[in-house]
Amino acid sequence: MNAIEVKGITKKFGDFVAVDSISFEVGTGEIFGFLGANGAGKSTAMRMLCGLLEPTSGEAKVAGFDIYKQREQIKKSIGYMSQKFSLYGDLTVAENIKFWGGLYGLTKAEIRAKEEEIVEKLEMRGWENSFVASLPMGWKQKLAFSISIMHSPKIVFLDEPTGGVDPIVRRKFWEEIYDASLRSITVFVTTHYMDEAEYCDRASIMVDGQIRALGTPAELKKKFGRADMDGVFKDLARGAQRKDA
C-alpha cells in the first residue's frame, strides 16, 4: 500500500490558486523530497496532507485515510517536525517527551517506556532534567526527530528540518532519516539544501503551484542534463511565472 496517494488536489484562496492540481504517490518507507521555491505552494500542500487544511478539490489519502473525512485519523498516523519549531526550550528533556507523548495519545506507561528508549538511544542519560534550550544543537535535533516518531507514525513530515544547522549535524540527521525509513516509516521532507535532495529516494519540484518534475535524483539530473540537483532546481524555479519580485 502507498503511504500517500494524491490525485489532482487543488487549493484556492479566493482567485489565487496556491496548489494547482498536483498528483503523486509515495510508497511505504520511501524518503520523498518535496522541493520548490518560496511561494511555490509547498506549505499549503503539506498542510493539506497533514489534515490541517481542506483542499478545494481533488482526492488524497494519507496513511490510508481520506483527507476530507478522516483528518483526525491522519493526525494520529503522522509525525511532524520543523527546524523553526518542534520542542519547548523552557521544558526539560523529560517534560518535552511527556508533553508530546500526551499529545500523540500515548498512555502513561507507553510514555515512560519511550522516555527510557529515547534517552538510551541518544545517550542522554543524566540529561533528562536539563532544559532543551541548553542542549547542543546536534542533540536538540536528534531529540526533536525521536519525539516526532515516538508514536511510531506511518509517515513523518519534516519541514526544513536542517535549516541553519551545522554541516556535520545536518549530515548525521540524514543518517537518522535513513534509519527511520529502514523501519518502514515513510519520510516526507522539504529542504532548501540541494545536496540533501540527492539523499531522497525520489523528489518532486513544485513551481507556481504545480509539480513540474518528479523522479529519482538520477532520473531528474539525466532529464535536465545537469550534474547536480541544484542545477535541476534552478532550471525549473527560474521559469516561475509567480515572480515574487
Binding site: R171, F233, K234, A245
Partner: protein, 311 residues
C-alpha cells in the same frame, strides 16, 4: 593599508541564564576591510547574531572593542547608526505600512529625501515598485527581504550589516540576493554578512568561520580551501548510506560524510586510494573512488571537529 569597515577585538559576551552562562562570544577578533564583502560563516547558535548586534551598536559586549567605520561602537553609537545599514535576521519593518510607506518612513528617520534614496536603490526598488501599495505584512519572503534591504540602504550607508539575510530562502532567490550584494560592493559599500550556507561563503572576499562563539579561521575562501591540510577521496555509486557504513567500518577513514551524490572521505594516515577501492569491492554496489579537492564545507567540518576534540 586599507582602513577598516568593522574591526572587532577580543569580544566576549555572556547572556545570563543561557544554559548556565555559556559564552555567546568567546574572544572574537577580526578586521573587515573597507570595500570588501566579509562573511561570518557558521551554524545557528555559533554567535553570529550577537556579533551583528554589537556591530550595529544594539548591544554592548562584556569586554573587547568594536570599531565600525572608524568609530567606537560603545562611545559613538549615534554616529555609527547614521552610516551603517542594518538588516536584522528577523523581519522588523512595519507590517501595517505599505512598501512605499516603509521606505518613506526610513528616509525621513535618516533625514534623506525619498527621491534621492530611491535613485540609489533603484535596481532593487524596480522589482518592488509594482507592489508599492501592498502592506509589508502581506509580502512573500523574497519581497520582504528586498524591502528590508531597500530600507537599510536608503541613507547610502558606508557599511551594510546583514544578519542571515537568506535563511529559509530558496536557492534561486539566494543567488539573486548575492548578485545584488556584488553590485553594492561595486558602488563602494562594505558588507558584513552572516550565513549558515557554505555556497554563499564562496562569494565573499574574506570569511571568518565561527563556531560556539569562537573564530576558527579567517581568510579568503580560496586560501582556506588551498590550506586544507589533508587528502580527500571522493567515492560515488551505490546507495549513499550503505556506502558511508562500509567506509566507516573499513577502518581506513578518519571521517566519511555525504556530499550530495558522492561522499568525501578523509583517509586515515597512510591509507591509500587502492586500499579503499579494495575494501569497497567487497561491499555492495559499483563504487568509484578518486582524489578530490576540498570544498569550503570540508574545511569548516575539519576545523570544527578539531575544535570539538580539544574542548
Amino acid at each position: 593599508m586599507k582602513s577598516s569597515a568593522a574591526k572587532v577585538c577580543n569580544l566576549r559576551k555572556v547572556y545570563a541564564g543561557n544554559g548556565g552562562g555559556t559564552a555567546a562570544l568567546d574572544g572574537v577578533s577580526f578586521d573587515a576591510e573597507e570595500g570588501e564583502i566579509f562573511g561570518l560563516i557558521g551554524p545557528d547558535g555559533a554567535g553570529k547574531t550577537t556579533l551583528m548586534r554589537i556591530a550595529a551598536t544594539l548591544i554592548l559586549p562584556d569586554s573587547g572593542t568594536a570599531e565600525i567605520c572608524g568609530f567606537d561602537a560603545a562611545r559613538d553609537c549615534r554616529r555609527i547608526r547614521q552610516i551603517i545599514g542594518y538588516m536584522p535576521g528577523k523581519f522588523s519593518l512595519y507590517q501595517d505600512l505599505t512598501i512605499e510607506e516603509n521606505i518613506a518612513f526610513f528616509a525621513k528617520v535618516f533625514g534623506v529625501r525619498k527621491e534621492d534614496g530611491i535613485e540609489y536603490i533603484e535596481e532593487i526598488y524596480r522589482r518592488l515598485e509594482p507592489f508599492k501599495k501592498r502592506l509589508a505584512g502581506r509580502l512573500s519572503g523574497g519581497m520582504k527581504q528586498k524591502l528590508a534591504l531597500c530600507c537599510a540602504l536608503i541613507h547610502r550607508p558606508k557599511l551594510l550589516v546583514l544578519d542571515e539575510p537568506t535563511t529559509g530562502v530558496d536557492p534561486v532567490s539566494r543567488q539573486e540576493f548575492w548578485d545584488i550584494l556584488q553590485n553594492m560592493k561595486k558602488i563602494g559599500i562594505s558588507v558584513l554578512v552572516s550565513t549558515p550556507y557554505m555556497d554563499e561563503a564562496a562569494r565573499c572576499d574574506r570569511i571568518a568561520f565561527i563556531s560556539s562563539g569562537k573564530i576558527l579561521k579567517t581568510d579568503s575562501p580560496q586560501n582556506i580551501v588551498a590550506a586544507f591540510p589533508k587528502k580527500i577521496f571522493r567515492a560515488s555509486g551505490g546507495k549513499m548510506f550503505e556506502l558511508l557504513k562500509a567506509l566507516r567500518g573499513s577502518g581506513l577513514a578518519e571521517s566519511a560524510y555525504s556530499f550530495g551524490d558522492s561522499c568525501h572521505i578523509v583517509p586515515k594516515c597512510g591509507a591509500r586510494i587502492e586500499d579503499l577501492k579494495k575494501c569497497l569491492q567487497f561491499s555492495a554496489g559499483n563504487f568509484s573512488v578518486a582524489e578530490a579537492p576540498a570544498t569550503l564545507e570540508d574545511c569548516f567540518m575539519e576545523l570544527n571537529s578539531g575544535e570539538r576534540n580539544r574542548s
